[in-house]
């Protein structure tokens, strides 16, 4: 919101909109997050017609409308297909100046948006292999993966 400079004869009202929401993940996303939460395993779903493996998983293929009922374990490692760092303040940023990346997990056809950590920005490259770091206390949401880090670092 821009700061308002106005003469005394022009009034405005400041307020904020605060409405509670409770978004259903649905059966498909629920299963995905429960696998991560309980077993630290990442799954995608496969379209039987297009042979695409969606990760994040999809219930229905948006292209052919087939039911993507087959669950395949993917990753946990993958590669970066795009990244940048946000140097501005964002209300929903989980950390200051987050590095966001598109992560194509091994065996998946679509990339997942997530955070990249423990790597100086100047060393990050498209095509770099990464691996997930799972949180200790997992709640059943996307941030149960803390972030992805360069694969070599994880193996010492």
């Amino acid at each position: 919101m821009n700061s308002i400079e106005a003469p005394e004869t022009l009034l405005w009202r400041e307020s904020r909109i605060k409405i509670p929401y409770a978004w259903a993940a649905g059966e498909t996303a629920s299963r995905f997050f429960i696998e991560i939460r309980d077993r630290k395993k990442i799954f995608g779903t496969k379209c039987p017609s297009c042979d695409k493996v969606y990760c994040p998983p999809k219930k229905t293929c948006g292209d052919c409308f087939s039911n993507c009922g087959e669950w395949l374990e993917v990753g946990p490692d993958g590669e970066i297909t795009g990244f940048t760092q946000a140097l501005y303040e964002g209300g929903a940023h989980p950390v200051k100046n987050p590095v966001g990346g598109l992560i194509l997990l091994r065996g998946a056809s679509t990339a997942m948006l997530h955070l990249i950590g423990q790597c100086p920005l100047e060393e990050l490259k498209i095509g770099m292999k990464v691996t997930p770091v799972f949180k200790e206390n997992r709640q059943g949401n996307i941030l149960d993966i803390l972030h992805f880090i360069p694969a070599k670092q994880n193996h010492g």
Partner: protein, 383 residues
């Protein structure tokens, strides 16, 4: 301008909370059913028109977010949203888009997951922030003032209003897609908690999770898709005023004027006689009395008599809300479009257990915002 027909539709099994699906997955259920109803495939669809009230789910840009479910992947996809009238705006907008000649087979979708937010909180954001929002904003207050005014004018009673709740609840028992499917008595309505005088809990619509998809076709292809297309004879709408205080409660001016325009377009002089079924967006009981007066079905103050006489029952002269109406099912962005789907179901003979025999002409309405009204009239005969 092309003539336009509805050739098929699909609905979800409406209910209070669909935790098992997210929005796009809910939408997809209705879309798949609509495609199955017509025998069309996603590839046959030229474009998608979708709508809801963004602030009910807190996801702006649902036309993009739901693209996997709504069938619009790599197709022209358009959103229309006009608050409570969203569903009927979609029904009219779909008609306009196909009539324009730019689309031959258009998929029109309305949906809402009311379980995901605080409905009153979300609706409050639709009120003017300088005037009404600080004072008396919310979903129910304006409706209660309208009901109070109507009762004051004509001596209409809570019992009269409860009578239409009984009717709509009875009808919903025969509609497998309806949300509230439970019989109710006049006494039970009158004993339910007062929410905003004179409105009680069971005078009001529920909050519903649901989606509806309707396929529109141009005159060039409609008869090849459906053996009995439902032709759109007329559409009209009126959106008056911004502030609650501007509303003229009786008769509801928007509905009065929109219906007169639609009747003129469709050549209808005596709606009670010439229309065979109506699906009205009446989100509270009293609207089922005063608004049928605005529609010209009864003289001022005589709406209750028409209802008590049984004229609007399933076997009456003009059955109203065979589906159980909005009193039984209200996934807001879908609600107006469900009315269109139900009218098309009645004309094409696909309404199942709540089929009214021999429907040739049907009318649906939409309601929302600051007493906005939309009207569509449908017929079995190509106009």
């Amino acid at each position: 301008m092309k003539r336009v027909a509805i050739v098929g539709s699909g609905q979800t099994h409406h209910t209070g909370s669909r935790l098992d699906v997210n929005g796009p997955e809910l939408i997809n259920e209705a879309v798949i059913r609509a495609l199955e109803d017509t025998g069309l495939k996603r590839k046959d669809i030229d474009g998608v028109l979708i709508g809801n009230m963004d602030h009910f789910e807190g996801v702006n840009g649902v036309e993009l977010w739901s693209i996997d479910g709504n069938g619009g992947l790599m197709k022209p996809t358009i959103k229309m949203t006009t608050g409570g009238t969203t569903g009927s705006t979609l029904a009219i907008g779909g008609y306009h888009l196909v009539a324009s000649g730019h689309f031959d087979r258009l998929l029109v979708i309305g949906w809402e997951k009311n379980s995901e937010s605080d409905t009153t909180g979300a609706i409050t954001t639709a009120f003017d922030p300088i005037w009404d929002r600080m004072v008396f904003a919310g979903a129910i207050s304006g409706l209660a003032i309208d009901a109070m005014n109507y009762c004051h004018k004509f001596g209409v009673t809570p019992k009269d209003a409860a009578r239409v709740v009984v009717r709509d609840r009875m009808n919903a028992l025969k509609n497998p897609f309806a949300h509230v499917r439970k019989e109710i008595t006049i006494e039970e309505v009158l004993r339910s908690p007062l929410i905003a005088d004179p409105l009680r809990l069971w005078d009001m619509c529920p909050r519903t999770d649901g989606a509806c998809a309707v396929i529109y076709a141009s005159e060039d292809v409609a008869e090849k898709i459906a053996p009995k297309p439902t032709w759109i004879l007329a559409a009209a709408n009126r959106h008056p005023y911004s502030y609650v205080g501007d509303v003229e409660c009786y008769p509801i001016t928007s509905l009065y004027h929109a219906s007169r325009e639609a009747y003129a377009k469709a050549g209808i002089k005596e709606p009670l006689k010439e229309i065979d079924v109506m699906e009205l967006y009446t989100p509270y009981s009293y609207a089922n009395l005063s608004w049928i007066e605005a529609l010209g079905l009864a003289k001022p103050g005589e709406g209750p008599k028409l209802v008590w006489d049984g004229a609007t029952e399933m076997d009456g002269e003009l059955p109203i809300n065979p589906s159980g109406g909005v009193i039984c099912t209200n996934p807001i962005g879908a609600t107006g479009l469900i009315r269109a789907a139900e009218c098309a179901g009645q004309i094409s003979g696909k309404a199942g257990d709540h089929q009214v025999p021999g429907v040739k002409t049907a009318l649906s309405t939409g309601f929302g915002g600051c007493f906005w009204s939309d009207i569509l009239i449908y017929g079995e005969k190509k106009p």
